[in-house]
Amino acid sequence: MIYLDNAATTRPSQGALARAQTYLTDCFYNPSALYHGGAEAHRLLRTARASLLSHIADPAAYDLIFTSCGTEADAQAVFGAARRGNAVTTAGEHAAVHESFRELKNRGVEPRFAPVLRDGSVDEEALLAMVDDKTSLVSVIHVSNETGAVNDIAALARRVKQKNPRTVFHSDGVQAFGKLPFRLSRDIDLYTVSAHKIGALKGTGALLKRKAYTALPPFVYGGGQENGMRSGTENVFGIACFYYAAEEKFACLKEDGARLAGYRELLWELLGHDLYTRISPADGSPYILTVSAAGKRGETLQRMLWDRGVAVGTGSACNSKKPHSRVLEACGYPTAVLDGVLRVSFSPATSEEDVRAAAAAMNDAARSFGG
């Protein structure tokens, strides 16, 4: 199976699993336990936290709160920061942020959704126009999980703060962390990352928080783990995998990015342009190429491709119960295009042969659609 649905989840790194193994079998202790074994587990958490932070932020300026997934980190950010007035986000968010914003309305906060451009990135001017002196939170996805479009969150955060310095700025960086080279600027208060998109395990995520932003409340209460910000016994093994997998990814981030950008363009070149239209922008994430076989059904093509040995995504795996992608609808595509969306997403393990085989299978599937 040629696995090209890495934006949905990734195959866990064998290296990371092997290194983390000891925290599953030997050092299985509760990190809060006050004997040697507990201290050892706790030490791992500290090392992992520092290492994960250091890849994208100044560890002196940011904290990292381990959570059970990216969705939980997003929820903590949205519900913790948007407690009055209004909150602004984009029409291109992942469901984790989008649905949390919709829920804000029930909690007395007015959600505002800024439109997106054709490629899925936010219309910056429209977003800024929505920010006013009552805006408590702005949340902008870093890399669109549906199109790979990259939002310039550093610039956006700066402009938001210029307009209202009290507004908290959050970004969902699940598709960016371990894939794009960047550092968090000090205007970004909260940033969500997830482990299973970079070769670690499902069930592990984190929320990065600027230390100077102290008003964020806990989301899960209990034994006071994570400095009281996220109670619950820590997923030591999952966190260890996250730590080691991130080390692997960041060791060759730029090289991988350059190579995969090449594959993304190669795939697009090899696809029949009478069969597929391109949705992903040229300057987007090297890891995602979203196309549409207009007039055909992406979901059917997806199964035809699976039978041909290639796994790809449709709009978004989290969204597969709804007929069309909400985000791509917001981008303004007609129904026929929305029907036929396929999202091809790479990992550093992807090879040129994979890409060529996938292109051939995609052309073949689209041609034989309908018998």
Binding site: E299, T300, R303, M304, K321, P323, G371
Partner: protein
Amino acid sequence: MEKVVIVRYAEIHLKGKNRGYFERVFCVNLEKALKGMKHELRRTSGRYLIAAFEESDAEEILSRVSRVFGVHSYSLGYRVPNDLDHIFEAARAVCPTDGTFKVETHRADKRYPMTSLELSAAIGARLLESSPALRVDVHAPQHTVYLDIREEGTALVFGSFEEGAGGMPVGTSSKGLLLISGGIDSPVAGYMMAKRGMEVEYLHFHSYPYTNEQAKDKVVELARILSRYAGGEWLSTVKVTHIQEEIHKKCAPELNVTLLRRFMFRIAERVAKKKGAKCLITGESLGQVASQTMEGITSSNAVVTLPVLRPLIGFDKEEIIVRAKKIGTFDTSVLPYEDCCTVFLPEFPAIKPKLSFIEEEEGKLDVEGLVEEALASCERISIH
């Protein structure tokens, strides 16, 4: 004091000389329903007693009994020796301590020293004495305590009658093959036939890769829910993708569904014969969709000789939904996966297709070859 479930059966008493057969099947079905739970099933005159079960299983036993066809009503109560003290003890256990009540006695044992009225009065008086907040109301009581004096020196004491599923024991009315899609109607159709004692086998058509595996899993789940009433161990699935593609390529688009249904009926008849089923069962309701017109029904019936039973033919969608909710299939049915019929849908399906036109269009296809090919794809999936 022994806790028991009293099970009364429905139409079996009407069955004259066949009564023994009906009772045997009923008993087997009850046993099947209670499989895996500690219990004893005892037959007494005109009713069954389930006894010797774990106290904590009582709820589940009641729920399982409620799904057995042929059950007229059932009650959770006590079986005690028929002296006053024991009867009172049981009556106190089933009667709340406040509100209005009455005691109703039925004597199967006419040799019992007290009349029904005397016994009711005696137990009623004792209940009043022990629970001062109780009041008697013989016309519209909030609670009724039922005393049933049996012949073997015992009495059954219970507080309510629960309505059973009714109908006839499954297996007493032959076997039918249910064409089950993922929709709301077909499970209800299967339920209706099982209620009349028919054993149900399940057949599902899919169009992979145009339909997905989740849709198939959903049908397995529907069959599993239905099998709690209707029995059955397996779901047969047949892939009709190639048939749909051929129809799509070669025939008039407005006949897509009509032609596909004729193929499905042909295939179903062969599957039915192999399984010993004597009829096909579908969830069609007259006029509900384009293929369920009289002309549509005529065109599909024309290709089979087995009778096709359509128990929902005169039902409105709303009535079907009410039943589906009661059976417990509704929530699964409405999960949003596409079933066979929604792929390759023509924009304007023919509502009143002429048989001659249908046959002319069908003539463009290798009917026998396609049926054989589809049958070769037949898979059997365990629904348990």
